[in-house]
Amino acid sequence: MFELKSASLNYGENTALWPYSRKFKPGRITVLIGANGAGKSTVMSLLTAERAPSSGAVFFQNRNLASWKVHELAQKRAVLPQRTHLSFPFTVYEVVGLGLMASTCPPYERKRLIGEMLARVDLADHRTRLYQQLSGGEQQRVQLARVLCQLEAFDGPVDERYLLLDEPVTSLDIRHQISTMEIARTYADQGLGVIAVLHDLNLAAHYADEVIVMREGRVLTDCAPAYAFDPDIIEEAFGVRPEIVDRGNGLTPFISVLGPEPTGQPNSQTPASKGLVH
């Protein structure tokens, strides 16, 4: 499991993350939400070992993350970044195959895995296409397939594996946002740990088992989604007041944020200005 032990991160004089301790358990989807610059990506970069904490430590499977070799780590956790730009004409098949760099699986197994993961992200018929010919959303799904390949190639216990997603659905259409989160859900149900940064509050409310709400490098709330999606907490984190609609029957509440209500005299001069966010 991943564990932050009073880990903090400073960029020069700026504190991106104040000392923070938390365990990230396998078998659950832990979602980080918060405004831009709240520290979500900072937590992510500590967990991925991209950055070393300024103080404190990060542990993975009870070993300091700094003592892990990169190829060992690559067999246990996979990371999907926000966006990946490639300057060279790789085919979709080849990009997905890059996820198997640290694995020792034989060629026929590679072919099978790559094909299977491409099918899982709905791109089975895109394997010969060049990465640069795809749309942003399709590129993101290719990267997801690459990351899944990396996870699948490892044959150790499933609860030792982690999937880290940094804004995985930002460029996806709504259907693929859901299918991506469903993939994460399936893995978590199998016992794998998922840690994700999400901007869409409804997706977070629907898929998260645990929600960490961040603001200015600190954790505002860390709890189950039913408690985290409270109008006061969301307003404190994002500076906009949401309307949270209870759909009843144990369904995920619907969170609607349309910006501040017009105050004082409503301006009815131009229809375009009505109801728009300032």
Partner: protein, 364 residues
Amino acid sequence: MPSGSARATLPLILRGDGDRQEVSAIVLVVLGGLFVLVCLASLAVGPVPIPLSEVLLILMGSDSSQSVASASELVVRDIRAPRTVMGVLVGAALAVSGATLQSLFRNPLADPGLVGVSAGAALAAVTVIVLGVPAVLVSTGITTFELLPPAAFIGGLLTTLLLYAIATRQGRTSTATMLLAGIAIAALAGALTGVLVFISTDQQLRDLTFWSLGSLAGATWYKCAAIVVFILPALLMSRFVANGLNGLLLGESQALHIGIQVQRTKILAVLLVALAVGASVAVSGIIGFVGIVVPHILRLMIGPDNRYLLPACMFLGAILLLGADMIARVIVAPAELPIGIVTAVLGGPFFLWLLLRQRGLVDV
């Protein structure tokens, strides 16, 4: 992505399942065969043409029957063979270092000649020619000529490191900064070289002229031996950085995530480029465009996978440079054209075409 720029990267050969490993293997075998043919041609072609059959006989070593070597045998053994070997080494070195730099910078426009690495190596070499062996090293008995390859290597290494430090911030390399910094470094190195040329003696000046244009003339077995100790390790190293470079194409953090030792890969790649370019420049001056044309043609055929691209670059780099050298030898025979002019005449338009096709695809 607009369709115009997408079309610009269409590969020439693509198999049904998106996996180009088999195609790459076939291309490697074909290039290997072509390479042997071009080597033989390079021994046969010149101001004095020697029939291929005679070249083969000489190579087999039919010397025991005659006590005095024939003229053809001398030409092949002492002039064309070392020249061919040098062409092979330099061509392979330049193409592989071009492909390596491009992967390292994640940019298809990087070329040792273009971004100043060759100019830095040349400056170091010219310094040695004009100022002679430094006083500290005189006692070791090292000659000016022996000092050239290591000096050029250090010059190339420092330039590559400087360029990388300038153009890369937090793991992201800016194309614009890289190209502009490279141009600035090349101009500065060129200016300093100019100063050295200005203070050089007439004899030194004669030695220096070929630096600016690049030439394989004056190849000897001795020179081949002097550079093979630099270029061979560089070519062997390419085998060990290929996977890492593939990972780096995804970006530094992604490379780390999939298990690449990023730092080690970068250090080896910079070392490879400095060794290969330094040694090449030391014996043949600045030969441009091989490092950009060869990897680009090959990427169109087999894709950017460095495990196949780098060995293919060795073959095609050698083939192209030997081809250019043959043109340089015969086109104005009995005089000869500096090979740098031939590669520039062929490579310049290619580079422009490349830029035009890449417009919009490379984020400058």
